[in-house]
């Protein structure tokens, strides 16, 4: 009589139907993660398609005027409102750019210090403290930006004759920059530590000082990984909501001036979807079109960033 055996060659024994059920539950659980992605993509796409029935896709992507508030009555002239996303995208990029100009140099220099100069004891203190910075809720940063940084900037600007808006892109960008320092520094730290020590030793052996070694050998070698880390940080900055809701402006303003108030994609999503809403109006649906835009932008940044970091890791492993 043929006895069923498992892959180890032992008798498979009695059928364990309970185990089948458990295994099914395991598979089901891991498909939940896929379902979430599918849910995100489909809900955003579905509502956005409804929106693009009312508003031309190209008017949305290339329009210079964002003013969803006028789309109130369906029979009035110009009832479609103005749904040009360019001012929002420019505002988002402006604030993200300011944030990265703070986070990139500070994060990379912190990482260099931690990886190359700080002793084990200092590292053991500094790293957790930087992680605290990453763990503080963004609503706290937003409050700090609105209550402390923005008035301080305004006061400083007034004393040298600069007119800084009370909800300037600068205040939001600076605080957001501090928020993403830990992200940049921890990825850069990993990347710098992964540079093979043979490269360092070669440079030091040829008589370069430590800083010369870092600048001319370690950093160029680590650059792809660091750039990937900065892409990931940029994705965080673009998707960040609470800081900009609390510290950046609400009205769409097409400008590159960091001293003025600008609004962002995330701020407008919050504005459109909090408070009373009728679900099938173009105004509400536009929030989903903005959400889709945000999702696509951050997805591209993340894919490039992860690709760069992973490729870099493989190169030295």
């Amino acid at each position: 009589m043929a006895v069923a055996t498992n892959k180890n060659g032992f008798s498979a024994g009695k059928k364990r139907y309970g185990e089948k059920a458990i295994k099914l539950a395991l598979v089901a659980s891991s498909t939940v993660a896929v379902l979430v992605t599918v849910g995100i993509v489909f809900s955003l796409l579905f509502e956005s398609l409804l929106f693009f029935q009312d508003v031309n896709f190209f008017d949305f992507i290339f329009g210079l005027d964002w003013n969803p508030q006028i789309a109130m009555r369906s029979d009035q002239v110009g009832s479609s409102g103005a749904f040009g996303a360019v001012p929002l995208l420019v505002g988002t990029l402006l604030i993200s750019f300011i944030a990265l100009s703070v986070a990139a140099p500070l994060g990379i220099y912190s990482a260099i210090y931690l990886a190359e100069y700080a002793g084990d004891k200092r590292r053991a203190v500094i790293k957790p403290v930087l992680e605290v910075l990453a763990g503080i809720p963004t609503v706290v940063y937003g409050f700090f930006a609105a209550i402390v940084i923005a008035p301080a900037l305004r006061g400083a600007g007034a004393s040298i004759g600069l007119d800084i808006a009370s909800e300037s892109a600068l205040a939001a960008g600076l605080v957001m920059g501090v928020m993403i320092i830990p992200l940049v520094s921890s990825i850069s730290d990993d990347v710098i530590t992964a540079v093979p020590s043979a490269l360092r030793e070669g440079s030091l052996g040829l008589g370069a000082t430590k800083s010369e070694t870092i600048r001319r050998v370690v950093l160029p070698a680590a650059l792809p990984g660091i750039a990937g880390g900065i892409m990931l940080a940029a994705s965080r900055a673009v998707g960040e909501t609470m800081i900009v809701v609390m510290a950046a402006g609400l009205s769409a303003n097409l400008t590159f001036n960091p001293l003025e108030a600008v609004t962002t994609v995330t701020v407008q999503i919050v504005m459109l979807l909090t408070g009373d809403q009728e679900f099938d109006s173009a105004k509400t649906l536009s929030a989903f079109a903005l959400g889709l835009t945000l999702f696509v932008i951050t997805l591209i940044f993340n894919l490039i960033g992860n690709w760069a970091v992973n490729r870099y890791r493989e190169a030295y492993d």
Partner: protein
């Protein structure tokens, strides 16, 4: 770095001094960069702590109540309070004067007065009771009657406050209402109790959903999944999900949970579901790491003694990996506790006075309360906002410390 003093070295390397200076400069730039973050953190937390500590205290004033007042208005604490105030502030004349006097005391002080009256023995002619003062008086007194805080008070209110302070009729007491009460339009009555309860309920839903699903998914991917393209896709998918902006999860919740499933808006259950979608990738990733840390010899020993694969995993590998999984889960929960944006999308941003009694009731969450209060024009709400942030930070600290201790205590080094 020690300096080379060998004559040959100095002669052949004329730029050495400058290079050493550059070396030191470079090191200090790094130190300054690190110091910047630390100083910022210090000012952030220090500033909020200084601003917020006042929210935990309230100012009480001692008022005198006569037997006659009680006899006349004893049944109606609202009128009794007003008459008592006028009795204690005899200078208040006319309609405007009365109005100024009424505004010295906190909204809701009549409820407190009623409680005091219930415990009052009928022994003397004059009773002394402590009642909370209004938010403007409270702020001015907490600022030691500083000029800029007095600005919002009328001239007579300033005079009364000064005389109360001079006669020692004001005292500070712990503001239990701040920790237990729900939201209110009046700063002196507003508390974080309701928001806190909402946060706890949402986190509970989030924990139940994401812990089970997250650990099961991690077990499948780490122990059972065949190494093929589908699994690779799953992994990329989960990694990307971890970096999707939180507001997108809010949009998903709005479109699916509220509009498609018809679950109640603003409720803790929807909040918890949205947060669980957000924390799920984090939990899966950390759980996989802790499963990877369990040495293969454990599995092989179990299988070798005849355990089935499921038995080997659930009886032997999982118990060893659980501490790491719990740590990851607590850290994920800490992130969920601080999250605001997705909750705004599903309407947990409404003004809610009564604490939620069930998972379907309208609720708000602690960070959302911070957001709501930060927008309020009253000065007293700035203090409340900072106070609420302090409570939030204390809880985050508590969760993170628990996670660290758990890891230290239970995690095995192989």
């Amino acid at each position: 770095m020690t300096k080379q003093t060998h004559p040959l070295a100095r002669a052949t390397l004329p730029g050495l001094e400058a290079r050493y200076r550059a070396e030191i400069r470079f090191k200090y730039i790094g130190l300054v960069a690190v110091a910047f973050s630390l100083v910022f953190l210090f000012f952030l937390i220090g500033g909020i702590a200084i601003k917020g500590v006042g929210a935990f205290f309230k100012t009480d004033v001692q008022l005198e109540i006569t037997k006659e007042l009680i006899a006349e208005h004893g049944s109606d604490s609202y009128t009794l309070l007003r008459e008592t105030l006028l009795y204690n502030l005899p200078e208040a004349k006319g309609r405007l004067g009365h109005k100024d006097a009424y505004k010295m005391i906190a909204a809701g002080a009549d409820d407190e007065l009623e409680k005091v009256m219930a415990n009052l023995g009928e022994t003397s002619d004059i009773f002394k009771v402590w009642l909370p003062v209004s938010d403007t008086i409270d702020m001015a007194y907490k600022a030691d009657l500083a000029e800029d805080m007095l600005g919002t008070l009328t001239a007579s209110q300033q005079k009364w406050l000064q005389s109360w302070a001079d006669n020692g009729r004001l005292r500070m007491s712990f503001n239990w209402n701040f920790l237990t009460k729900g939201d209110s339009r009046d700063p002196e009555r507003a508390g974080i109790g309701g928001a806190f309860l909402g946060s706890v309920m949402s986190l509970l839903v989030c924990l139940i959903l994401s812990f089970i699903v997250g650990i099961f998914a991690a077990i499948y991917l780490e122990e059972f999944a065949p190494k093929n393209k589908l699994t690779a896709f799953l992994e990329v998918n989960i990694n990307n999900l971890a970096t999707v902006p939180s507001i997108i999860f809010g949009l998903l919740g709005l479109a699916v949970f509220l509009n498609l499933f018809g679950l109640p808006r603003s409720s803790a259950i929807v909040g918890g579901m949205v947060l669980s979608l957000m924390t799920l990738p984090t939990i899966i990733i950390t759980s996989r790491v802790s499963l990877q840390a369990v040495p293969p010899s454990i599995r092989e020993a179990a299988l070798g003694l005849g355990a089935s694969q499921i038995q080997a995993v659930f009886h032997h590998v999982l118990p060893l990996a659980i501490p790491g999984m719990l740590t990851g889960t607590i850290l994920g929960m800490a992130r969920a506790l601080g999250e605001t944006a997705p909750l705004l999308m599903i309407g947990m941003v409404a003004f809610i006075v009564d604490p939620p009694l069930g998972f379907m009731d309208p609720a708000t969450a602690l960070p959302v309360q911070v957001f709501l209060w930060s927008d309020s024009p009253e000065r007293a709400f700035a203090e409340k906002t900072s106070g609420a942030i302090l409570v939030l930070l204390v809880f985050l600290l508590f969760m993170n410390l628990t996670a660290i201790l758990l890891r230290k205590k239970l995690e095995k080094k192989w």
